[in-house]
């Protein structure tokens, strides 16, 4: 039981962590909770279905599995990056110097709009996510582990490592950190702040798209509400870790999912979601800054 709940928790944690990164990156730079971020993730899953449908009719899923896997991730990533950049342009940039409540309301509005839009276009019913990877399962310390779970974990960890490297080592990554610490000063050394913000939204959206496709593959089913629940969970994870803190979002995502998984396994599956938010409340009472604190390196503005 323990090993099984651990495996389940790690897989869900990878998904929470990928989505949480988007919240935390945007918050770090704009001090904005992008409530429409969960919807980007949901759209990623739907685009994945569309890609699989096209590949299926072309027969590509039979002839070239590797290429199909690449495309089923790559196309939603590109699509969602465009969505994220557009979202920022349309809903947030015009309000950048407005009172803090205005972009928040705009974010909630965009979230509702995108949910309803997908409902109208795709229908309100659950949609099946075609099965692409037929990977066998094996037993490890008494837990059943399948190939898809390993694939999800490895891909998520790889992306997180790549993101850390990007932020720490590249010129654009350093510009992102500088912009998060002092936006005006970043512009005074020649950083195009609007571009950095667009890149930040693009990166968050790409990670959300990957998470969406992963979840589609994992559960085999998608609907227009998944963004709301996963978004709230990932947001909770980001706050748990310390909003604005990239490492905190990783940790928060895995921690929340593991706690949920053990709670569901040992106590009650019914109150799993309630438990997640209880954890948040308790952490915020004792550590209002989150586990790692919001100012762990990326978040602070002077």
């Amino acid at each position: 039981m323990f090993a099984q709940q651990l495996v389940n928790g790690l897989v869900v944690g990878a998904v929470y962590a990928l989505i949480a990164l988007g919240y935390t990156l945007v918050y770090g730079i704009l001090q904005l909770i992008n409530f429409a971020h969960g919807e980007i993730y949901m759209i990623g899953a739907y685009v994945g279905i569309a890609v699989l449908a096209v590949l299926g009719t072309m027969g590509l899923t039979q002839t070239s599995l590797a290429l199909s896997i690449v495309l089923v991730f790559l196309i939603p990533m590109i699509y969602c990056a465009a969505y994220g950049i557009t979202l920022e342009r349309v809903a947030y940039r015009p309000l950048r110097n407005a009172p803090r409540l205005s972009p928040l309301i705009s974010a909630i509005g965009m979230s509702l709009f995108l949910q309803n839009y997908v409902q109208v276009v795709q229908g309100a019913r659950d949609k099946a996510f075609p099965n692409l990877l037929e990977l066998g399962s094996f037993q490890l310390f008494g837990a059943y582990v399948n190939g898809l779970q390993i694939f999800i974990l490895v891909l998520a960890l790889g992306l997180m490592a790549a993101l850390q490297l990007f932020i720490k080592k590249t010129k654009l990554g350093k510009a992102m950190r500088a912009t998060a610490q002092d936006r005006t000063m970043a512009s005074l050394v020649g950083v195009n702040v609007n571009r950095v913000i667009a890149v930040t939204f693009a990166i968050g959206s790409v990670l959300a798209a990957v998470a969406g496709v992963m979840v589609g593959m994992y559960y085999g089913i998608v609907n227009h509400h998944i963004g709301f629940v996963a978004g709230m969970k990932a947001f909770t994870a980001a706050v748990l870790g310390g909003i604005g803190n990239v490492t905190g979002a990783f940790l928060g995502g895995f921690l929340l999912a593991l706690l949920e998984s053990f709670w569901a396994g040992y106590v009650s599956a019914v109150y799993k979601d309630v438990f997640a938010f209880m954890v948040l409340v308790v952490v915020l009472i004792f550590r209002p800054e989150g586990i790692l604190g919001g100012s762990g390196g990326e978040a602070d503005r002077t």
């Binding site: 010129k171 510009a175 500088a178 512009s187 020649g190 002077t302």
Partner: protein, 234 residues
Amino acid sequence: MLELRDVHFYYGQIHALQGVSLEVRSGQVVCLIGSNGAGKSSTLMAISGVNAVSRGEILLEGEAIHAQEPDDIVRRGICQVPEGRRIFPHLTVLENLEMGAFLRNDAGGVKDDLDYVCSLFPVLHERRGQRGGTLSGGEQQMLAIARALMSKPRLLLLDEPSLGLAPRIIETIFGVLARIRDEGTGIFLVEQNAHLALNFSDWAYVMETGRIIMGDEPAVLRDSPAVREAYLGE
């Protein structure tokens, strides 16, 4: 090289710049003095493209630059060391300096300039791995100036570089500024320490409530009764 003509700027309802006109000739040190709230920092932020000018013009070598973004202004060779230094607190000293060279693509030249600014301020070399936010005030001011120099500016805008620093540190910093000036970089200096500013400059302006009220050679201003009373404390 730089000219402001009748520049107006508002913070919401507050009319912070009420028709500022001034000129910085190339290779010169020009200073701007004035009391708290006169609009000195607002003027520098208008030049840097952070404050969007509502009326008037800012010209660089005769070309209008007041509608450009801050990064374009840096690209054109104007770099500002803002009030309060504004070091990136969680970046290391070295990363702060690299950010100064953000727009440059000549890796070799950037490397040489790193060595150069570290020779101007050896303490920065010693502290290169330390986070910017942990430096002392004087060290931060040196880092802020060095960071601006990493962009290879033609014109350096300095906002109160002496603020809150010990006389010995001020001497070091102005020694370096003199060297930069001698190497041909223009300097536009905002200072509340009028003695210091007038001694260092080739031309001086006095600002009051969003307007330039005087502009002359430092020697002339130093003899003006109004300036002596208001800014030199005599």
